[in-house]
């Protein structure tokens, strides 16, 4: 992946491409340590952020209080309209601290409806890109079937917008992106991760509990990072850009992805490539995680920059 160009507004480039200067390291402002609202604000151009359905609208989940769970005034999803390097954008950030970023009825519809509105604006001549900040364990089990339904609605709305404008996914860490929302991550036009980000359908604990510790030892961080970690996911082409945990680096990667437009063929449509990759691995004798990128590179010859 190429380094994003400096944006000219004081943000420095912090790609983890081995050429990161000491100055950039010292000037680093952690993105991961920010909460969802601060993350969204940090990405948008200064002074352009405007939150929709914010805390004072008090659209809470109706299902939590009856289950003795304290609701949040924004149901754990922050929707902010603004500009991204001048371009109209909506940033949708999931708050991982609230119910593990679990998607319920309200939070799910906030995401889906925002994506649909961006698609509507785009069709009506006001192109709007979307940025999804994905830190979530997936469906919120306290809302079970409605959470599942809204995740499906998120995927549908994402695809509707993706046909018209880029939908940029960011998995910065530290919850990672798991469960049904990992499918949404797989649908994004561009997926940006840090080394601290993780991506998978079933989280390690879930696999251990369903299939036993021999299948997946959830107490083994080396194994978890080797499989789900941002470096592995970008190295094997399941994510696109690896960035440093730095506000400026994440912002410039998002701006570059938004400016690049839609890829020629989205990852989730590259079925021939997916087939070749799947057939290249013998399930009875799979490669070590560290060798997977090489196995897949041999199976699918490089096509250069597909975009």
């Amino acid at each position: 992946m190429t380094s994003p160009a400096p944006t000219g507004n004081g943000h420095t480039n912090g790609q983890t491409n081995g050429q990161t200067g000491w100055n950039a390291m010292l000037a680093r402002v952690g993105f991961i340590e920010l909460d969802a609202r601060a993350r969204a604000a940090a990405l948008l151009d200064d002074g352009t952020a405007r939150e929709l359905c914010g805390p004072f609208d008090r659209i809470e989940s109706p299902w939590l209080e009856p289950q003795d769970v304290v609701p949040a005034s924004d149901d754990g999803v922050v929707v902010v309209r603004g500009r991204l390097d001048g371009r109209p954008a909506v940033v949708i950030a999931i708050e991982q601290a609230f119910q593990g970023g679990g998607i319920g009825e309200v939070s799910g519809v906030k995401i889906a409806a925002s994506l649909s509105l961006a698609a509507r604006d785009t069709r009506e001549g006001a192109p709007t890109v979307a940025v999804l900040l994905l830190e979530t364990g997936g469906v919120r089990l306290q809302e079970a079937n409605l959470g599942l339904a809204t995740v499906a609605e998120v995927c549908s709305a994402l695809l509707e917008l993706r046909a018209l404008q880029p939908v940029v996914g960011v998995i910065a860490g530290s919850m990672g992106c798991f469960g049904g929302m990992s499918i949404a991550a797989g649908l994004c036009s561009t997926l940006i991760m840090t080394r601290e980000g993780r991506l998978g359908l079933n989280g390690p604990q879930v696999i251990e509990s369903e299939a036993g510790v021999a299948e997946f030892d959830a107490s083994d961080p080396t194994l978890i990072w080797a499989i789900d970690g941002g470096a592995q996911r970008t190295g094997t082409g399941l994510a696109d850009v690896l960035v440093l945990d730095d506000v400026a680096a994440v912002r410039s990667a998002v701006i570059e992805a938004a400016g690049r437009g839609a890829p020629g063929e989205h990852r989730s449509r590259r079925l021939r490539e997916s087939r070749t990759r799947l057939d290249a691995v013998d399930p009875a004798d799979p490669p070590e995680p560290a060798d997977l990128a090489a196995v897949w590179a041999r199976a699918v010859p490089a096509e250069g920059d597909r975009r």
């Binding site: 659209i59 109706p62 009825e105 604006d121 409605l146 649908l187 079933n202």
Partner: protein, 268 residues
């Protein structure tokens, strides 16, 4: 016994063919249409040990995407009101839980299936889901939830949920009994198909004589229901907006509707 296989065989006009041993398809005549049936079925000999009981795994996700995309490509030249119905017959325990699955990106395989089903729907293919057995979690997201219309058998063997009961209890720090008690008050938590049908996601709850192995009368009746669903799908929206406008949603999903209105108001 696989309800998915039994219903696919019963509904199909002719032979049922295996795309891969765990994903089968066939054609079904529905009035003037010939629909494409797609089902995920158990394959006890699958080389993927975690996906032998009908789970949606790597191979299944990709095969679903390929099969649906094939129908999409073949019909691309037709006027979009004439594109064939795609019928997802759903009876699956879940997605596949495994280390190999995560390593190779099962989320990506499921995303490919979701993409294919949604693309078919956007292109004017009526996408109809028929739930005949269990329909859980990520498996249902990949195979079933992107449909214009969702039908389910009214039968105790039909279980639709985000997670099976034992695991859901564990994750939410409750006992199974407590979960059952809560589900009586909180419809989205319920494992009963009649409660699920009230969430606004269900376009038809079908009574049959034999949910395990349909009688001829069952097959005939369900074909009629599928044909009616195809008609509704062709008349209805191509996004999933109908799920928020259904009578059930007006009762149960008032919060969803409120969010949608408030966001649109504030969007400008």
């Amino acid at each position: 016994m696989s309800r998915g296989r039994n219903w696919t065989r019963a509904l199909a006009d002719g032979d049922v063919t295996a795309v891969v041993p765990s994903v089968v398809t066939g054609d079904v005549t529905l009035g003037a249409d010939t629909g494409r049936l797609v089902a995920v079925v158990p394959d006890p000999h699958s080389p993927y040990p975690r996906a032998r009981r009908g789970e949606v795994g790597l191979r299944e996700g990709l095969a679903l995407a390929e099969t649906v995309t094939e129908a999409l490509t073949e019909d691309a030249h037709l006027p979009d009101g004439h594109r064939r119905p795609i019928i997802a017959v759903v009876d699956l325990p879940s997605q596949a839980y495994g280390r190999l699955e995560e390593l190779l990106g099962i989320h990506h395989a499921l995303a490919a299936a979701v993409d294919a089903y949604a693309s078919a729907r956007f292109a004017g293919h009526p996408v109809i889901t028929l739930i005949v057995g269990t329909a859980l979690s990520g498996g249902l997201l990949a195979h079933g939830m992107q449909a214009n219309q969702i039908l389910a058998l009214d039968d105790p063997g039909v279980v639709i949920h985000a997670m099976h009961k034992k695991a859901a209890a564990k994750v939410t720090l409750r006992t199974v009994d407590e979960l059952d008690e809560l589900a009586r008050r909180i419809p989205p938590l319920s494992y009963d198909v009649n409660d699920w049908a009230r969430l606004g996601l269900c376009d038809g709850l079908l009574n049959v004589e034999n949910a395990d192995d349909p009688t001829e009368r069952d097959t005939r009746a369900v074909k009629g229901e599928l044909a009616a669903a195809v008609e509704r799908a062709r008349r209805g929206p191509r996004d999933l907006g109908n799920r928020l406008n259904s009578p059930g949603a007006r009762q149960t999903r008032t919060a969803s509707r409120r969010v949608r209105e408030a966001l649109a108001d504030q969007w400008r």
